[in-house]
């Protein structure tokens, strides 16, 4: 177990980060902080992809063309490309979420979910 943690500590840390994000999303009453929780959650997944592609002693996946490329040890570029795409998606989501929060704030005058629930049940 200890050995596993010592060699795979990044995964453990990333899943803790995932949990923090999820908890923040559920337990926090502030809508902006909820959205930050969503971002943390996503970031943990991005880092998971990146750490998955890590190769002990591997170089960046830029293959020098003078040497024989087959012998160069490189990290897999595919997860990094995936993460780049996923980051773009995440930014778009955050933007839409923040726009919705601005609309909610201007209509109800609050960012807290519990207050929001009270205001809405009054109507």
């Amino acid at each position: 177990m200890i050995e596993l943690l010592a060699s795979r500590y990044t995964y453990a840390l990333l899943f803790v980060l995932l949990g923090v994000g999820l908890y923040m999303m559920i337990a926090n009453e502030n809508l902006v902080k909820k959205l930050i929780g969503v971002n943390l959650f996503q970031t943990a997944i991005f880092l998971f992809f990146i750490s998955m592609a890590y190769v002990e002693g591997g170089a960046a996946p830029i293959v020098p063309h003078e040497e024989n490329p087959g012998e160069v040890l490189v990290a897999s570029p595919l997860p990094q490309v995936i993460v780049l795409t996923a980051i773009v998606v995440g930014i778009a989501l955050t933007a839409v979420g923040l726009a919705l929060i601005i609309r909610i704030y201007s209509e109800y005058g609050t960012l807290r979910e519990d207050t929001l629930r009270e205001v809405r049940s009054d109507e």
Binding site: L22, M25, L31, K34, L35, V38, F41, Q42, I45, F48, F49, M52, S76, L78, P79, I82, T85, A86, V89, A92, L93, V96, G97, L100, I101, R103, I104, E107, Y108, L116, R120
Partner: protein
């Protein structure tokens, strides 16, 4: 046609590129949105029909993007399972767009989101790559959040934010699943994965990946208990938008889940995986019962139909469970038919509800009193759709349920058949309530504070438009307009003959598709023999 595979990227790229046009042209000209969207969706529908004719005669069509081999490139695939979904997406998009010309939300940003949604949905149905599936899921979701939030009033923003948070978590769960599977196999292509997954050295990673994917799709498809975003999103979305998202967004996700089950993980592998089949079966069956039970107690029509979606998608997921557990071709046919049929039914029903709201402001079941007299054609179409949803034979709802139940019985999974039977009874309970209000409840004299006064001329000259009947009979007939909540904005004149025609077309389509059930099963045959032994 040798270049038919070019249709695949075009089907995805054209709507997404065209989505920029309404805003760009809108800077200079007014009212460019509708023509752009109309031309695009009509073209897409034509392209999907052309694609379908090729797929069903010559087999699947594959396009490799950029010419890279599929081991590390991206593929777009149209086969017998994905083509009906592409047809449904383009067909419903074109139909709903025709409705929104008079009835729905307008404005250039609306059409931008609309085209983006269509592009994303086509991407989901045509992609052959698990990561691209995630990207298209998110494109679809983003457009859906924006469309839901475009409803009147602040409630829609709250519903959209709730949907955004849950939908993002769902997509992220799916991404974690992809990460695990990628870790175990090193590839993202669906066909490559199908051969790499059984050979994977660490099956525990695959199992973890599948578990995350199930949870992700359970949210996206709105399965109990993860469905809570869906009724408020459907209810708060503008009336012209609900038909589109109700018919397509969850359908595309459910299709994607089925695709992952049969093509990526493969039925045999999942059948050997501990607990995979029982979990999928249980999620589906519980959703069927919970969804119908919740639908029965709703008073608002749109909310009732939304809960009905929870149960109908539960049926599809239960069918997938039967496919895994019993290796059943019949259940897969049922799932495919039910996906397409339910999409069409829900589009028609929500369009009908939008039509009633537009003309009378009626939103609750009680306010539908006397609709059959005031709008016989629309009420008749809605009645056909409702009966089809229940599963009365000529309708498509029956064919899907029949195949799923038959598959369950063949595989000796009796609880599923029992659940289908029970849910049909409950579906009848809420459908009959609406039918009874429309046809059999005698109109009572309820005060109509905002109802339009009958026009002086009685409007009897041009007898083609259905609204004329309404005007002339306004004084002595039932008050479907009983409670006009929107402060008198809704008038019977707001509904054009074209809007009614679209609902009628949906109803006729549902019946026609019901008769075509056998043909549909035959068309699926090559795909079934490929994925199920």
């Amino acid at each position: 046609m040798s270049n038919v595979d070019l249709l695949l990227p075009l089907l995805i790229v054209v709507p997404i590129l065209a989505a920029t046009l309404p805003i760009a042209l809108g800077l200079r000209y007014d009212w460019t949105g509708w023509p752009v969207a109309a031309i695009t969706t009509t073209g897409l529908f034509a392209a999907a029909v052309a694609l379908a004719s090729v797929v069903y005669t010559d087999g699947q069509v594959i396009h490799t993007l950029g010419g890279y081999p599929r081991a590390y490139g991206i593929e777009l695939v149209a086969d017998e399972f994905s083509t009906p979904i592409a047809l449904l997406v383009t067909g419903v998009a074109a139909g709903v767009l025709a409705y929104t010309r008079r009835g729905g939300p307008r404005g250039n940003t609306f059409y931008t989101a609309y085209l983006l949604l269509t592009g994303g949905l086509l991407g989901i149905s045509l992609t052959g790559d698990v990561f691209n599936l995630f990207v298209f899921l998110e494109i679809t979701s983003l457009a859906t959040y924006a469309l839901v939030a475009s409803g009147d009033g602040p409630e829609s923003a709250v519903a959209a934010l709730k949907y955004l948070i849950l939908g993002t978590v769902a997509a992220s769960m799916y991404l974690i699943g992809v990460a695990f599977v990628f870790m175990a196999t090193g590839t993202l292509n669906m066909v490559e994965l199908a051969s790499a997954i059984p050979a994977a050295e660490r099956p525990v990673l695959i199992r973890a990946g599948f578990a995350f994917i199930v949870v992700g799709f359970a949210v996206k498809v709105a399965q109990w208990p993860l469905h809570t975003w869906q009724p408020s999103a459907y209810q708060q979305a503008p009336d012209g938008v609900t038909p589109l998202i109700a018919a397509l967004v969850s359908t595309a996700s459910a299709y994607a889940f089925g695709r992952l089950i049969v093509t990526v993980f493969e039925v045999e592998y999942l059948a050997a995986m501990p607990n995979a089949a029982p979990i999928v079966l249980t999620v589906g069956c519980v959703s069927v019962l919970a969804g119908t039970a919740l639908a029965v107690i709703q008073t608002e029509v749109k909310r009732m139909l939304a809960y009905s979606s929870v149960s109908q998608f539960g049926l599809v997921i239960a069918a997938y469970g039967v496919v895994i557990a019993g290796n059943s071709e019949t259940a897969l046919i049922g799932a495919a038919i039910h996906l397409v049929g339910h999409g069409l039914l829900k589009a028609g029903l929500f369009l009908g509800a939008a039509l009633v709201t537009a003309s009378y402001g009626a939103r609750t079941v009680d306010e539908y009193t006397g609709l059959a007299k005031e709008r016989p054609i629309a009420a008749g179409a809605m009645a056909v759709l409702l009966l089809s949803l229940v599963g009365v034979p000529p309708g498509v709802g029956f064919v899907g349920k029949w195949y799923i139940a038959l598959g369950a019985v063949e595989s000796q999974i009796w609880p599923v058949a029992a659940v289908i039977f029970l849910s049909t009874m409950l579906t009848l309970a809420y459908a009959a309530r609406l039918l009874e209000k429309m046809y059999f409840t005698p109109p009572t004299a309820v005060e109509r504070p905002h109802a339009a006064e009958p026009v002086a001329t009685d409007g009897g000259d041009a007898g083609t438009d259905d609204s004329d009947t309404t005007d002339s009979g306004f004084d002595d007939e039932g008050p479907a307009a009983a409670a006009i909540r929107d402060g008198g904005r809704a008038t019977p004149d707001a509904v054009s003959a074209g809007m009614i025609a679209i609902v009628v077309v949906a109803a006729l389509g549902a019946v026609a598709l019901g008769f075509a059930g056998g043909t549909f099963a035959e068309l699926l045959e090559p795909f079934l023999t490929e994925v199920i032994n």
